[in-house]
Amino acid sequence: MTRRIVFFVVALLAGAFPLAAQNSQFGIQTVGTPGRPESVRSRSLGGAFAAFDAASAIADVALTDVKRLTATAAGWSAIRSVNPVSGKEETLHESRFPLFTLAGPVGPFMVIGGGFSSYLDHSYDLLTHDSTLIRGAMVPYLDENISDGGVTDVRMSLAFKIGPRLAIGAGFHALTGSDRLKAIRIFDSLSVYAPVRDTNVVKHNGFGISASVRLDPFYGVSLVGFVRSDDKLNIKVNEAPRGATDLPLTVGAAVRLILKPGMRVAASVTRSNWSVVGTDSYDTMNWAVGTEFGGSGFALRLGVRGGQFPFGPGGSAPSELAASAGLGRTFAQGHGVLDIGVERLQRSGNGLDEGVWTLMTAFTVRQ
């Protein structure tokens, strides 16, 4: 009973954290930067194992691996260098708690789970110097545009083991969140011209459904197929409805091989039609390969992934390539797990390159 209370406390604490994805300047003009609902373990493996990882929110069917009530919370800190073609490089810092999952078995063949993950992040702080004509005089000013917020995916999932080789999963996703958009203009002649400060609160809501199936045809070989359909993201600006944005359909597949005890390899591919969002949005195809060494007490992880980022100017999607590594360590007779990882991402698009170092940490507590 005490352990269950601890689980709920952890769940509440995790829910209080800001949830967000890793930002990109490419996402400023759109709905934001899509999140990666992957656990630190999966992300250290390039994302290739995410469809097999119950702590990730990629494929609901992965919950079938959960034998005990399990909670996982993840956090990361990123150092992002932004290198525009027409400007000088800037280094940005951000920290997020993008993922929390809670899952437990209900009977011998069914697992129920849920949690929060970042669906979109729309946080930025931009400074612009310019001048404007006021009453016949050019007046220099500094503009600051700040956005803080995003969209969170609240997930409820079920997974069934239909037989020893087949399992299915399904989930419902409630999308909710808000952006606080601040626009500030401060004129150089502050004694003459009053500054302008304006704040808009943009609220989002929507829903999505997901389904997945897992097949283990042979020992050591697992296949997962997954699909997720998100409806529309309804937008309210200062409580006034402001239309809706279409959200993508995502399909993907993954394969995992257990080559020998203590060595696992996985690969995945995912396609999303983000082009439905609007202008300067593109369909994406992403792939990932990863390998994990080690047993139940310790694991070493390596991964690489690539593909496209769905938003960007110039008529073509920015490309992404990332390499990652991580460690996993089990404590307290398997009741606690600490995962750490590091990822280096290079994102290149029209007019801008971004390089991101991400340090990741996750705690898992099992009953």
Binding site: Q29, S77, P84, H93, D125, A194, T279
Partner: protein, 434 residues
């Protein structure tokens, strides 16, 4: 594998600590616009609202918001070109009949006066337009008060003066003596400050005898002269520098022996005395115009009908009230003054309580202009922030009641020349995505 595992386990805490230490948020970057900036942007609209002012009135004649006896400055003006003549007058408080004559509480009867020193502070001296600024001191009857007029004192001011001082001569000498001058001939002292002069005139008992029947009360008038015209203000009790002060060097009886008690007694024009000034020509009535300032001081109330697009949604950057003068303010350059716009807490007309924290100030120079522009940006912003505030403001002069020039401009009844509100504002920032 074993070595790798051990190394990894040692490295894990370091990575964990590193991830915590990098837990900071700084997303500030230069905007690479328009490609990597938000779709919406702040826009600026500049508009002149011609029919926005209504219910405008001026109050303050014949009884001003500040009358000469309440003014912070006593105007000493001699401007023949403007037919303007103004003379400060004041009456000091009475002296006690007995004063302390020793180090204890023993008192003695006041028997006479050795001398006295009259201290007055001068400011708003126009150094650029006149020479030979002189002050002439006259004795006045003790009956002077706020109802005394210029004509009432014509006889006293045409009589023999008590003293005449050429200030410019003293100032020139003081400049060579480190801003403090004691005139060896007269005993007068001049202290030159940054924005004011303090003149301490030494008067003897022949010039100003102690009259027991008057309880030592004195009444003086001051007349300023200069070439070609004089304009200066004498500090009043209501001003920061204080009003006229008389320091008495008395004689008192101490057990049959005449002594000179210390410290000297001081008598001032307030609270039981009086200070003010009498002037010509008499103030003109308000008439059909709107007026701000003058003597007695007049205030103008203006009510505004602000479009909702500006008041509710706009962010005011610059707001200017444009007034078309019927006659330009008349005076010398030193008469430049401030016009303060104050919003009201509640609109009760002439006696509306003013919001002292929401003000805008504009300096008015004594030069001919076709349009007077008053800054009202702060007040406009406050009206937008608080929808409950009445969109009413008062215009008043500063210093109030101590400057002759006044703003006189057309009211909203004069359609072609009615007050206008020139507003530069930013409409609501549009939150949008592509």
């Amino acid at each position: 594998m074993g070595r790798l595992r051990r190394a990894a386990i040692r490295l894990a805490p370091l990575c964990f600590v590193l991830s915590l230490t990098t837990c900071i948020e700084d997303l500030t970057a230069p905007g690479d616009c328009p490609t990597f900036c938000p779709v919406g942007a702040i826009t600026i609209i500049d508009t002149v609202l011609t029919g926005t002012v209504f219910g405008d009135s001026s109050y303050g004649r014949p009884d001003g918001y500040v009358d000469p006896d309440d003014a912070p400055g006593l105007l000493a003006v001699d401007e023949p070109s403007l037919s303007r003549d103004s003379r400060p007058i004041f009456r000091t408080t009475p002296l006690p009949t007995r004063v302390r004559v020793g180090i204890d509480t023993t008192t003695g009867l006041v028997t006479g006066v050795d001398s006295l020193r009259l201290s007055i502070t001068l400011f708003n001296r126009d150094t650029a337009t006149h020479d030979n600024l002189g002050l002439t001191l006259y004795r006045l009857p003790l009956t002077i008060d706020s109802s005394t007029t210029f004509a009432d004192l014509a006889g006293q001011f045409s009589g023999p003066p008590v003293r005449t001082v050429n200030l410019d001569t003293l100032i020139a000498r003081a400049a060579n003596e480190d801003s403090l001058l004691r005139d060896p001939l007269t005993g007068d002292i001049l202290v030159v400050g940054a924005t004011s002069l303090t003149l301490r005139l030494r008067l003897d008992s022949a010039q100003v005898p102690l009259v027991p029947a008057d309880s030592g009360r004195l009444a003086f008038g001051v007349r300023a002269t200069a070439t070609p015209e004089a304009s200066v203000a004498v500090g009043a009790f209501e001003s920061r520098g204080g009003g006229p002060v008389v320091v008495w060097y008395l004689k008192a009886d101490s057990a049959g022996k005449t002594v000179h008690p210390l410290p000297q007694l001081r008598s001032t024009a307030r609270p039981t005395g009086f200070d003010g000034f009498v002037f010509l020509p008499p103030p003109s009535p308000i008439g059909a115009d709107l007026i701000v300032g003058g003597v007695p001081s007049v205030r103008t109330i203006l009510r505004f009908n602000i479009p909702r697009a500006i008041r509710d949604s706009g962010r005011v950057i610059l707001a200017t009230l444009e007034l078309i003068p019927t006659t330009p303010p008349v005076g010398v350059p030193a008469d430049s003054f401030r016009v303060i716009a104050k919003s009201v807490v509640a609109d009760f007309g002439a006696k509306s309580p003013l919001n002292e924290s929401l003000t805008d100030t504009t300096i008015i120079r004594i030069v001919p202009v076709d349009t007077i522009r008053l800054n009202v940006t702060n007040i406009m912003i406050s009206w937008g922030l608080s929808g409950a505030l009445p969109t009413t403001l008062f215009l008043m002069q500063q210093p109030e009641g101590a400057v002759f020039p006044e703003l006189r401009f057309h009211s909203s009844n004069d359609a072609p020349y009615r007050p206008r509100l020139h507003v530069t504002y930013a409409p609501r920032y549009p939150a949008s995505i592509k």
